[in-house]
């Protein structure tokens, strides 16, 4: 199978998340006319927090063998 097609299909949940988030941000920003900076900033900050937690977990939980496949 074409490698790009396989990559796209394998990451469907990621595309679906981006699709839903785009629709809802469009509703909030355009249809409801509520352009709050914090609406987009806070989830990004939370994602950064999650990334830090994950990095710590991976460091301490899989110190030698790496994550399970």
């Amino acid at each position: 199978m074409n490698i790009w097609k396989e990559r796209i299909l394998r990451n469907i949940p990621l595309w679906a998340t981006l699709f839903m988030v785009s629709v809802i941000v469009f509703v909030d920003f355009v249809l409801l006319n509520r352009p709050h900076f914090l609406i987009s900033a806070v989830p990004i900050l939370i994602f950064v927090l999650i990334a830090v937690i994950v990095a710590l977990v991976r460091y301490f939980y899989y110190p030698k063998e790496g994550p399970a496949k």
Partner: protein, 204 residues
């Protein structure tokens, strides 16, 4: 017709997630098992809350939507969408696609945190768009962006806990043949009881 801006994208997205699960996570029966149990869990949860707490009358969809008892179908579908995408993102981050035993709490907690961030975006316009409203007492539950059209911060924890507990219990039941199965069943029952009690306490 603002309700259509939530329901139609949610139904489209869930179809693609079903295709993904069917293709990469084990065919027909596991796919039916996950999506069937998640949507059934959401329907039972919403109906239990509405039956045991008459003040829990949150949904005001305008547009085309299907109702199952007190639950609009888009709510369990949207919630299932969040649970599956959170599971996918958590498995991508940790490298654990099929969590077993001691790895379940870690992936479930991470999936819960991710679902809180997704829910933040969904919840922000929900009240202003008329999708649903919240009856929490502003003196007890802090609101983000005001009590009239903002979101109660408690709901982020609610989404995180619901997704984390559901995924943990689902993995216990679906992936294990030992006593973990009983842990999953008891966990779901305790979660329903806890939801009813907490919601009754916090609702105006």
């Amino acid at each position: 017709m603002m309700g259509l801006w939530l329901s139609i994208p949610a139904y489209i997205a869930i179809v693609f997630l079903i295709i993904h699960h069917y293709r990469y996570r084990g065919g027909s029966w596991p796919t039916l098992g996950f999506f069937g149990s998640a949507i059934a869990y959401g329907i039972i949860r919403e109906n239990l809350l509405a039956i045991f707490n008459p003040a829990y009358n949150l949904y005001g969809f305008v547009g085309i939507d299907l109702w199952v008892g007190f639950a609009p179908l888009v709510v369990p579908v949207g919630w299932t969408f969040t649970a599956y995408t959170s599971w996918y993102l958590a498995s991508q981050i940790t490298g654990i696609d099929k969590p077993l035993r001691s790895r379940m709490p870690i992936v479930a907690t991470l999936a819960g945190l991710i679902s809180a961030t997704i829910s933040f975006i969904i919840e922000m316009p929900a009240v202003a768009a008329g999708w649903w409203s919240w009856n929490f007492d502003p003196a007890v539950v802090p609101f983000f962006m005001g009590a009239s059209e903002g979101l109660p911060l408690l709901t982020l924890g609610g989404w995180a806990m619901t997704v984390g507990i559901f995924l943990f219990c689902y993995w216990c039941i679906a992936y294990h043949k030992t006593r973990w199965r009983y842990v999953g069943i008891v966990g779901i029952i305790l979660h329903f009881i806890q939801l009813i009690v907490v919601n009754a306490i916090l609702t105006v």
